[in-house]
């Protein structure tokens, strides 16, 4: 075997852990930062942050950002940016309101039309970016203005609402508890409510994290991929599994699984799978990593770029439906400046401005981190002025950390 292979085997345990930590500092840093921030707010808000009702709120408040962050991650990995998502989200919400409230159309038709509309909008922007090579910054900046204007026009400057109950449940409803034993648990833990489905979901998710982690580890070992030191692996997996059970247990003692959490969870799993495990996902990373080399390897880079924007548009539409349902009204200002929160979440999650780098899970954690910051500071009664400044500095710090880390490595 090769010389180098021997040398890695010979290196001592402590230095190996050191180099591993240095190489993966970013990932651990993000997880650690999220935990530290949550712990900090839990203490300074006197325990309010992790109260079941607040936890439920936290998820609902950030759901549309997370949904859009999934699409934005792909756009950014492909080497582009989308500044129009806030406006598109607002426009689709307005369209839904006009269709349901003013035109009395069915909710099913409205939802399908809205998602298709989102995809078409994404395609209309992606077309110029992919096939005409117009910089995405410019095209989506134009889109941001156009769709903000279209929302105003569609709503005639007014708020339209309220929505019928069946529409509101998209954002504010909860999955009914289909499992037995809730009443017994209610007595046992002394809560007013207990939702077994939520707890079961938490346990299954935690089990899955441990199982897939172990499986991954085994296959890494078999193929000589750099191994995460055992202690790190155990600690990381334990923390994530525990956090999943803890959060879902808390939700169980309130009203159970919010519909939105389910949507978000399913979308996150689907997108994580697509980006990490499929040919399509791999090609997007290749496109962002080196477009010319990808093209010369037979990858249809234009079509892929186009699809990334179609996908972003559809996800912005879903976010628009959730947002409108949550507010129970569509306003011309809905989604204003939200694109910046979404983009910030993706960069905090470790994506690179130059493309080719970033993970779905990172983007979701990044969005949560921003969400916890927002929520915690609001509970503390910190003014919006300070909130903005602090969020800005967190974004800057995360990216500086990235760049510094990369230079060193």
């Amino acid at each position: 075997m090769s010389v180098a292979e021997n040398s890695t085997n010979q290196e001592g345990g402590s230095s190996r852990i050191g180099t591993y930590l240095a190489a993966h500092l970013r990932e651990y840093g993000l997880l650690f930062a999220l935990i530290a921030i949550m712990a900090f707010f839990q203490v300074v808000t006197g325990g309010t942050l992790l109260k079941p009702i607040n936890l439920t709120n936290l998820l609902l408040q950030n759901s549309y950002i997370i949904i859009m962050a999934l699409g934005m991650l792909i756009v950014i990995v492909a080497g582009h940016i989308d500044l129009s998502v806030g406006s598109v989200m607002g426009f689709v919400g307005a369209l839904a309101a006009v269709m349901v409230v003013n035109w009395d159309m069915s909710i099913g038709v409205t939802m399908v039309t809205c998602v298709i509309m989102g995809a078409v909008i994404g395609g209309a922007q992606g077309y110029w970016i992919a096939y005409w090579k117009i910089p995405s910054f410019i095209v989506t900046l134009a889109g941001m203005l156009v769709f903000r204007g279209l929302s105003l026009w569609l709503l005639e400057g007014q708020s339209v609402g309220p929505f019928p109950r069946e529409f509101q449940v998209i954002a504010t409803g909860f999955v009914p508890d289909i499992l037995p034993g809730g009443d017994a648990m209610k007595e046992l833990v002394g809560a007013r409510n207990f939702n077994m489905l939520a707890l079961a979901t938490g346990l299954i998710a935690a089990f899955w994290v441990v199982w897939s982690g172990l499986r991954q580890r085994a296959s890494n070992k078999a193929y000589g991929i750099e191994d995460e030191p055992r202690a790190f692996f155990a600690a990381r997996t334990a923390i994530i599994a525990f956090a999943l059970i803890f959060i879902l247990y808390k939700l169980a003692t309130f009203r159970g699984l919010p519909n939105v959490l389910l949507t978000m969870g399913v979308l996150t799993i689907i997108y994580a799978f697509i980006t990490e495990r499929t040919v399509l996902g791999r090609r997007v990373y290749a496109l962002g990593g080196n477009e010319k080399a990808a093209k010369l390897s037979g990858i249809k880079t234009e079509r892929l770029t186009f699809l990334a924007f179609v996908n972003m548009g559809a996800l912005a539409a879903i976010a628009g439906l959730v947002f409108a349902a949550r507010l129970n009204t569509a306003t011309p200002k809905a989604g204003f400046a939200l694109e910046l929160d979404v983009i910030a979440a993706v960069f905090i999650g470790g994506a690179s401005m130059s493309g080719g780098v970033g993970k779905i899970v990172g983007a979701v954690v990044g969005a949560f981190l921003m969400g916890v910051l927002n929520n915690g500071m609001s509970i503390m009664g910190i003014g919006i002025d300070y909130q903005q400044m602090i969020k800005g500095l967190v974004l800057l710090a995360a990216v500086i950390f990235d760049v510094y880390n990369k230079k060193k490595g």
Binding site: E5, G224, E226, R277, R282, A286, G289, K295, I299, V357
Partner: protein, 506 residues
Amino acid sequence: MQDTLLEMRSITKTFPGVKALDDVSLKVRSGEIHAICGENGAGKSTLMKVLSGVYPAGSYEGEIHYDGALAAFRDIADSEARGIIIIHQELALVPLLSIGENLFLGNENARGGVIDWRATNQRTETLLGKVGLHDAPTTQVEKLGVGKQQLVEIAKALAKDVRLLILDEPTSALSESDSQALLDLMLELKAQGMTQIIISHKLNEVRRVADTVTVIRDGHSVSSFSASEGITEDRIVRDMVGRSMENRYPARTPDIGERIMRVADWSVYHPEHADREVVRNVNFDVRAGEVVGIAGLMGAGRTELAMSIFGQSWGQNITGTVEMHGKPVDVSSVSRAIAAGLAYVTEDRKSLGLILDDTITRNITLANLPEVASGGVLNKRAEAQVAEKYRKDLGIRTPGVFQKVVNLSGGNQQKVVLSKWLFAGPEVLILDEPTRGIDVGAKYEIYGLINDLAAAGKGVVMISSEMPELLGMCDRIYVMNEGAFVGEMPAAEASQERIMSLIVNE
């Protein structure tokens, strides 16, 4: 005896875990051209970085004596102020500024921040005269060819009162005639008393200009000898690789079969200037087990020909036909060209061939992902097995196939690109400058791989600017000049003189 201008004594430079330089000494006499030779990674650039202050005094062991005194450079500005100027392989000119603006960048002819254009242009003209350039000082650098840009770099060094001029691989991107012009200029500057250091892989050039050669191998200075002792390519190669290279090209018994590919009446126009015909009416064919060379100068249209065949990746208004096994095939997109059985290994592996921040595995499977996937879902186990197979077969030297390719040496990177295309399963491989920027040892391995491909019955088209390489490797050679094929000959009847005369007579 001439005076010594520079003496580096026992330089040792250590990076965490690696001794990049170990007790290296270099002695450059005033007014000579001193060549430094060594394989990639031998420590040449590190040595130059120590000299120029990129690694400041104190970060290395050993002494630098310059111009009769002990020197301790803190940074590049410090060494430049003493007249030591390095011209790097990658040119450091601003393409959209004029020649004059580039020459005095950071050193402007200005009073109180206001640039004196008359003085700038006058001085520029004088300096350009010294390097034999006759372009107007206001010409944008972008509009100049690479050869002229290299001369502008030298003029820029002259503008700074250079005493020791260091040229790092100055001719690696230049055509034959531009290279000759540059070497002539070096000799002329020498005649005017300028001391120069040249770092080069091209041993014939070293032999032509150098007064003294120092060979570095694995961070040690191995030998140093002067023209009077005899500078021969054999001796340099022997010292560089630590063994003698009896035969620089591995032998192969050609076993040539049926015709695989035929390209007929192929014409291509420039993508931006629609009236410029870059490839004119080219016809050629490749047989199974055959290595076909395309000789020509830089800019003859060889890369453009290859890329236009490979999925119309270059040019517009492309006409002509490509046949595989006698049947016309569609090569109008890269994926169709791959499906037709073609592969193109680019001359510019860093920007066109590899995704540098990705792993070896991910680079190797990129052009044929469906092969390691089922139903669009990747099978990472199969992927790792494929990468592992090519690592062994091609001898890619790496701790593991999950290393990023950016960390590999040029030769190993080239093997990754070759692996990618072998995994795509082509019948004909077009190799564009397959050994550019690769050290002697790795070149030999690449040649061996090319022979293996031919032995396996593939057709190989090899584009190269190094004629000895074509003569040593090919069965048949086409000569291309100004977009057209001007000759074809069996390698046995070919010689450098014959190829050059075909080019010159056109």
